[in-house]
Point group: C2
Chain length 171, copies 2
Protein backbone atom coordinates (compact mmCIF):
# COMPACT_ATOMS: atom_id res chain seq x y z
CA UNK A 1 0.00 0.00 0.00
CA UNK A 2 1.52 3.29 -1.09
CA UNK A 3 1.82 5.92 1.62
CA UNK A 4 0.79 9.49 0.92
CA UNK A 5 1.83 12.91 2.12
CA UNK A 6 -0.91 14.80 3.96
CA UNK A 7 -0.63 18.44 5.02
CA UNK A 8 -2.90 20.21 7.54
CA UNK A 9 -2.35 23.95 7.60
CA UNK A 10 -4.24 27.24 8.00
CA UNK A 11 -4.95 29.61 10.87
CA UNK A 12 -7.91 27.68 12.29
CA UNK A 13 -8.16 25.30 15.21
CA UNK A 14 -7.85 21.56 14.66
CA UNK A 15 -4.52 20.83 12.99
CA UNK A 16 -2.64 19.10 15.81
CA UNK A 17 -6.01 17.84 17.02
CA UNK A 18 -6.65 16.14 13.68
CA UNK A 19 -3.18 14.61 13.71
CA UNK A 20 -3.92 13.15 17.16
CA UNK A 21 -7.12 11.73 15.69
CA UNK A 22 -5.19 10.24 12.76
CA UNK A 23 -2.74 8.62 15.18
CA UNK A 24 -5.58 7.12 17.21
CA UNK A 25 -7.48 5.92 14.16
CA UNK A 26 -4.37 4.20 12.79
CA UNK A 27 -3.61 2.65 16.18
CA UNK A 28 -7.22 1.47 16.30
CA UNK A 29 -6.48 -0.45 13.11
CA UNK A 30 -3.33 -1.89 14.66
CA UNK A 31 -0.85 0.22 12.66
CA UNK A 32 2.36 1.44 14.33
CA UNK A 33 2.48 5.25 14.47
CA UNK A 34 5.20 7.78 15.15
CA UNK A 35 4.00 11.11 16.50
CA UNK A 36 6.93 13.53 16.21
CA UNK A 37 6.38 17.06 17.43
CA UNK A 38 8.57 20.01 16.55
CA UNK A 39 8.92 23.35 18.35
CA UNK A 40 6.34 22.78 21.09
CA UNK A 41 8.10 20.05 23.07
CA UNK A 42 5.68 20.61 25.90
CA UNK A 43 3.62 18.15 27.86
CA UNK A 44 0.15 18.80 26.53
CA UNK A 45 -2.82 16.70 27.55
CA UNK A 46 -2.86 15.15 24.07
CA UNK A 47 0.64 13.76 24.51
CA UNK A 48 -0.34 12.34 27.89
CA UNK A 49 -3.43 10.76 26.35
CA UNK A 50 -1.44 9.12 23.55
CA UNK A 51 0.71 7.39 26.15
CA UNK A 52 -2.12 4.92 26.65
CA UNK A 53 -1.27 3.66 23.18
CA UNK A 54 2.44 3.28 23.91
CA UNK A 55 2.32 -0.20 22.35
CA UNK A 56 1.39 1.34 18.99
CA UNK A 57 2.11 5.07 19.14
CA UNK A 58 5.65 6.30 19.74
CA UNK A 59 6.09 9.94 20.71
CA UNK A 60 9.16 12.01 19.98
CA UNK A 61 9.53 15.68 20.74
CA UNK A 62 12.06 17.79 18.91
CA UNK A 63 11.52 21.09 20.65
CA UNK A 64 13.05 22.87 23.60
CA UNK A 65 9.89 22.93 25.67
CA UNK A 66 8.96 26.51 25.01
CA UNK A 67 7.50 28.56 22.19
CA UNK A 68 9.84 30.55 20.00
CA UNK A 69 9.48 34.29 20.34
CA UNK A 70 10.40 36.51 17.41
CA UNK A 71 13.30 34.42 16.11
CA UNK A 72 14.84 31.01 16.74
CA UNK A 73 17.91 30.55 18.92
CA UNK A 74 20.88 28.35 18.03
CA UNK A 75 19.55 25.70 20.44
CA UNK A 76 16.15 25.62 18.69
CA UNK A 77 17.88 24.93 15.37
CA UNK A 78 20.14 22.26 16.85
CA UNK A 79 17.33 20.28 18.44
CA UNK A 80 15.18 20.47 15.27
CA UNK A 81 18.06 19.42 12.98
CA UNK A 82 18.87 16.53 15.31
CA UNK A 83 15.21 15.52 15.08
CA UNK A 84 15.23 15.74 11.32
CA UNK A 85 18.29 13.50 11.10
CA UNK A 86 16.66 10.95 13.35
CA UNK A 87 13.50 11.08 11.23
CA UNK A 88 15.49 10.52 8.06
CA UNK A 89 16.61 7.14 9.37
CA UNK A 90 13.19 6.28 10.79
CA UNK A 91 11.47 7.06 7.49
CA UNK A 92 13.99 5.00 5.53
CA UNK A 93 13.53 2.02 7.87
CA UNK A 94 9.77 2.30 7.54
CA UNK A 95 8.96 0.69 10.89
CA UNK A 96 6.04 3.09 11.36
CA UNK A 97 3.18 3.04 8.88
CA UNK A 98 2.08 6.56 9.82
CA UNK A 99 4.57 9.28 10.70
CA UNK A 100 3.14 12.57 11.96
CA UNK A 101 5.41 15.61 11.82
CA UNK A 102 3.40 17.89 14.06
CA UNK A 103 4.22 21.60 13.76
CA UNK A 104 6.88 20.91 11.12
CA UNK A 105 5.45 23.88 9.19
CA UNK A 106 6.17 26.08 12.19
CA UNK A 107 9.72 24.73 12.28
CA UNK A 108 9.99 25.75 8.61
CA UNK A 109 8.53 29.16 9.37
CA UNK A 110 11.21 29.74 12.01
CA UNK A 111 13.88 28.45 9.60
CA UNK A 112 14.90 25.58 11.91
CA UNK A 113 15.42 23.60 8.70
CA UNK A 114 14.61 24.16 5.03
CA UNK A 115 11.65 22.90 3.06
CA UNK A 116 14.12 21.12 0.77
CA UNK A 117 15.55 19.24 3.75
CA UNK A 118 12.04 18.23 4.77
CA UNK A 119 10.93 17.18 1.29
CA UNK A 120 14.16 15.22 0.89
CA UNK A 121 13.53 13.00 3.92
CA UNK A 122 9.89 12.55 2.87
CA UNK A 123 10.88 11.49 -0.66
CA UNK A 124 13.43 9.04 0.71
CA UNK A 125 10.94 7.28 2.99
CA UNK A 126 9.89 3.66 2.63
CA UNK A 127 7.10 3.94 0.05
CA UNK A 128 4.34 2.44 2.21
CA UNK A 129 4.79 5.06 4.94
CA UNK A 130 2.09 7.74 5.26
CA UNK A 131 3.47 11.12 6.31
CA UNK A 132 1.35 13.84 7.91
CA UNK A 133 2.69 17.37 8.28
CA UNK A 134 0.85 19.95 10.38
CA UNK A 135 1.20 23.60 11.31
CA UNK A 136 0.16 26.95 9.91
CA UNK A 137 2.15 28.62 7.15
CA UNK A 138 2.75 25.49 5.03
CA UNK A 139 5.10 26.65 2.27
CA UNK A 140 4.00 26.31 -1.35
CA UNK A 141 6.78 23.80 -2.14
CA UNK A 142 5.38 21.44 0.48
CA UNK A 143 1.82 21.92 -0.76
CA UNK A 144 2.99 21.11 -4.29
CA UNK A 145 4.66 17.94 -2.99
CA UNK A 146 1.62 16.78 -0.98
CA UNK A 147 -1.11 14.35 -2.05
CA UNK A 148 -3.73 15.82 0.29
CA UNK A 149 -3.86 19.33 1.71
CA UNK A 150 -6.51 20.60 4.10
CA UNK A 151 -6.62 24.21 5.17
CA UNK A 152 -8.15 24.72 8.60
CA UNK A 153 -9.71 28.13 8.20
CA UNK A 154 -10.76 30.21 11.17
CA UNK A 155 -14.33 31.32 10.60
CA UNK A 156 -15.06 32.37 14.18
CA UNK A 157 -12.91 32.11 17.30
CA UNK A 158 -13.80 32.84 20.90
CA UNK A 159 -10.18 33.68 21.73
CA UNK A 160 -10.84 37.01 20.13
CA UNK A 161 -13.43 37.42 22.89
CA UNK A 162 -10.70 36.92 25.50
CA UNK A 163 -10.97 33.23 26.38
CA UNK A 164 -7.70 31.68 27.58
CA UNK A 165 -6.46 28.19 26.58
CA UNK A 166 -8.16 25.62 28.80
CA UNK A 167 -6.59 22.39 30.04
CA UNK A 168 -8.14 19.40 28.31
CA UNK A 169 -9.68 21.53 25.59
CA UNK A 170 -6.93 23.51 23.92
CA UNK A 171 -3.89 22.22 25.79
CA UNK B 1 -15.68 26.92 33.63
CA UNK B 2 -18.08 27.89 30.89
CA UNK B 3 -18.40 25.41 28.05
CA UNK B 4 -18.40 26.61 24.46
CA UNK B 5 -19.91 25.48 21.20
CA UNK B 6 -17.36 24.47 18.58
CA UNK B 7 -18.22 23.67 14.96
CA UNK B 8 -15.96 21.88 12.46
CA UNK B 9 -17.30 22.01 8.94
CA UNK B 10 -16.18 22.30 5.31
CA UNK B 11 -15.45 19.89 2.49
CA UNK B 12 -11.89 19.02 3.58
CA UNK B 13 -10.54 16.05 5.46
CA UNK B 14 -10.10 16.20 9.23
CA UNK B 15 -13.45 17.01 10.82
CA UNK B 16 -14.27 13.71 12.53
CA UNK B 17 -10.53 13.20 12.92
CA UNK B 18 -10.22 16.46 14.85
CA UNK B 19 -13.16 15.53 17.04
CA UNK B 20 -11.44 12.22 17.88
CA UNK B 21 -8.36 14.26 18.77
CA UNK B 22 -10.46 16.54 20.99
CA UNK B 23 -11.92 13.51 22.77
CA UNK B 24 -8.46 12.06 23.36
CA UNK B 25 -7.01 15.36 24.55
CA UNK B 26 -9.86 15.82 27.01
CA UNK B 27 -9.51 12.24 28.23
CA UNK B 28 -5.78 12.88 28.63
CA UNK B 29 -6.73 15.64 31.07
CA UNK B 30 -9.09 13.29 32.90
CA UNK B 31 -12.32 14.84 31.61
CA UNK B 32 -15.32 12.58 30.88
CA UNK B 33 -16.28 12.72 27.19
CA UNK B 34 -19.32 11.65 25.19
CA UNK B 35 -18.65 10.88 21.54
CA UNK B 36 -22.04 10.70 19.82
CA UNK B 37 -22.07 9.92 16.12
CA UNK B 38 -25.01 10.52 13.81
CA UNK B 39 -25.71 8.97 10.40
CA UNK B 40 -22.58 6.84 10.10
CA UNK B 41 -23.19 4.33 12.89
CA UNK B 42 -20.48 2.13 11.48
CA UNK B 43 -17.55 0.51 13.18
CA UNK B 44 -14.68 2.65 12.01
CA UNK B 45 -11.17 2.14 13.31
CA UNK B 46 -11.49 5.39 15.26
CA UNK B 47 -14.43 4.05 17.24
CA UNK B 48 -12.47 0.90 17.99
CA UNK B 49 -9.50 3.00 19.06
CA UNK B 50 -11.59 5.07 21.45
CA UNK B 51 -12.70 1.91 23.22
CA UNK B 52 -9.34 1.84 24.98
CA UNK B 53 -10.52 4.98 26.76
CA UNK B 54 -13.83 3.48 27.83
CA UNK B 55 -13.26 4.70 31.41
CA UNK B 56 -13.41 8.30 30.15
CA UNK B 57 -14.93 8.28 26.67
CA UNK B 58 -18.45 6.98 26.13
CA UNK B 59 -19.52 6.23 22.56
CA UNK B 60 -23.06 6.41 21.27
CA UNK B 61 -24.08 5.89 17.69
CA UNK B 62 -27.33 7.27 16.39
CA UNK B 63 -27.21 5.96 12.85
CA UNK B 64 -28.45 2.90 11.05
CA UNK B 65 -25.03 1.63 10.09
CA UNK B 66 -25.10 2.77 6.50
CA UNK B 67 -24.75 5.98 4.58
CA UNK B 68 -27.88 7.73 3.41
CA UNK B 69 -28.32 7.78 -0.33
CA UNK B 70 -30.28 10.57 -1.92
CA UNK B 71 -32.83 11.04 0.86
CA UNK B 72 -33.41 9.82 4.40
CA UNK B 73 -35.80 6.97 5.20
CA UNK B 74 -38.31 6.99 8.04
CA UNK B 75 -35.95 4.73 10.04
CA UNK B 76 -33.06 7.20 9.65
CA UNK B 77 -35.21 9.96 11.09
CA UNK B 78 -36.47 7.80 13.96
CA UNK B 79 -33.02 6.73 15.11
CA UNK B 80 -31.67 10.31 14.88
CA UNK B 81 -34.64 11.78 16.78
CA UNK B 82 -34.26 9.11 19.46
CA UNK B 83 -30.61 10.07 19.73
CA UNK B 84 -31.45 13.74 19.99
CA UNK B 85 -33.89 13.07 22.82
CA UNK B 86 -31.31 11.04 24.68
CA UNK B 87 -28.75 13.83 24.18
CA UNK B 88 -31.17 16.41 25.53
CA UNK B 89 -31.20 14.61 28.89
CA UNK B 90 -27.47 13.94 28.84
CA UNK B 91 -26.67 17.60 28.14
CA UNK B 92 -28.99 18.76 30.91
CA UNK B 93 -27.41 16.37 33.42
CA UNK B 94 -23.94 17.55 32.41
CA UNK B 95 -22.14 14.37 33.39
CA UNK B 96 -19.80 14.75 30.39
CA UNK B 97 -17.58 17.81 30.18
CA UNK B 98 -17.13 17.43 26.41
CA UNK B 99 -19.95 16.22 24.17
CA UNK B 100 -19.09 15.59 20.53
CA UNK B 101 -21.97 15.47 18.06
CA UNK B 102 -20.12 13.94 15.16
CA UNK B 103 -21.80 14.34 11.75
CA UNK B 104 -24.70 16.23 13.30
CA UNK B 105 -24.40 18.67 10.39
CA UNK B 106 -24.99 15.78 8.00
CA UNK B 107 -28.04 14.78 10.04
CA UNK B 108 -29.28 18.37 9.56
CA UNK B 109 -28.49 18.23 5.87
CA UNK B 110 -30.64 15.12 5.49
CA UNK B 111 -33.37 16.75 7.61
CA UNK B 112 -33.23 14.05 10.30
CA UNK B 113 -33.94 16.89 12.75
CA UNK B 114 -34.04 20.66 12.49
CA UNK B 115 -31.34 23.16 13.37
CA UNK B 116 -33.75 24.66 15.91
CA UNK B 117 -34.07 21.30 17.63
CA UNK B 118 -30.30 21.02 17.78
CA UNK B 119 -29.72 24.57 19.01
CA UNK B 120 -32.43 24.06 21.62
CA UNK B 121 -30.71 21.09 23.27
CA UNK B 122 -27.36 22.89 23.10
CA UNK B 123 -28.76 26.01 24.78
CA UNK B 124 -30.36 23.90 27.50
CA UNK B 125 -27.13 22.11 28.40
CA UNK B 126 -25.40 22.41 31.76
CA UNK B 127 -23.32 25.56 31.24
CA UNK B 128 -19.91 23.98 31.85
CA UNK B 129 -20.38 21.45 29.06
CA UNK B 130 -18.35 21.95 25.86
CA UNK B 131 -20.23 20.89 22.72
CA UNK B 132 -18.49 20.04 19.45
CA UNK B 133 -20.50 19.66 16.24
CA UNK B 134 -18.90 18.25 13.10
CA UNK B 135 -19.87 17.56 9.51
CA UNK B 136 -19.92 19.42 6.25
CA UNK B 137 -22.76 21.80 5.36
CA UNK B 138 -23.05 23.47 8.81
CA UNK B 139 -26.11 25.72 8.50
CA UNK B 140 -25.72 29.46 9.08
CA UNK B 141 -27.95 29.38 12.18
CA UNK B 142 -25.57 26.96 13.87
CA UNK B 143 -22.53 29.02 12.82
CA UNK B 144 -24.18 32.10 14.31
CA UNK B 145 -24.79 30.21 17.55
CA UNK B 146 -21.21 28.84 17.80
CA UNK B 147 -18.28 30.30 19.73
CA UNK B 148 -15.67 28.75 17.48
CA UNK B 149 -16.05 27.69 13.87
CA UNK B 150 -13.32 26.08 11.78
CA UNK B 151 -13.81 25.36 8.12
CA UNK B 152 -11.77 22.41 6.86
CA UNK B 153 -11.13 23.43 3.31
CA UNK B 154 -9.99 20.97 0.68
CA UNK B 155 -6.95 22.43 -1.04
CA UNK B 156 -5.78 19.21 -2.68
CA UNK B 157 -7.10 15.68 -2.39
CA UNK B 158 -5.69 12.44 -3.73
CA UNK B 159 -9.16 10.88 -3.90
CA UNK B 160 -9.63 12.86 -7.05
CA UNK B 161 -6.68 10.82 -8.34
CA UNK B 162 -8.63 7.63 -7.64
CA UNK B 163 -7.38 6.51 -4.21
CA UNK B 164 -9.90 4.49 -2.21
CA UNK B 165 -10.49 4.90 1.55
CA UNK B 166 -7.84 2.90 3.41
CA UNK B 167 -8.35 1.09 6.71
CA UNK B 168 -6.55 2.88 9.53
CA UNK B 169 -6.10 6.04 7.50
CA UNK B 170 -9.51 7.19 6.32
CA UNK B 171 -11.73 4.61 7.97
Amino acid sequence: MKGYLQVYTGNGKGKTTASIGLAIRAAGAGLPVLFAQFVKGMKYSEIGALERYSDLITIKQYGRGCFIEREAQKEDIEVAQKGLNELREILQLGEYKIVILDEANIALYYKLFTVNQLIDIIRNRKPDCEVVVTGRYAPQDLIDEADLVTEMKEVKHYYTAGVQARKGVEC
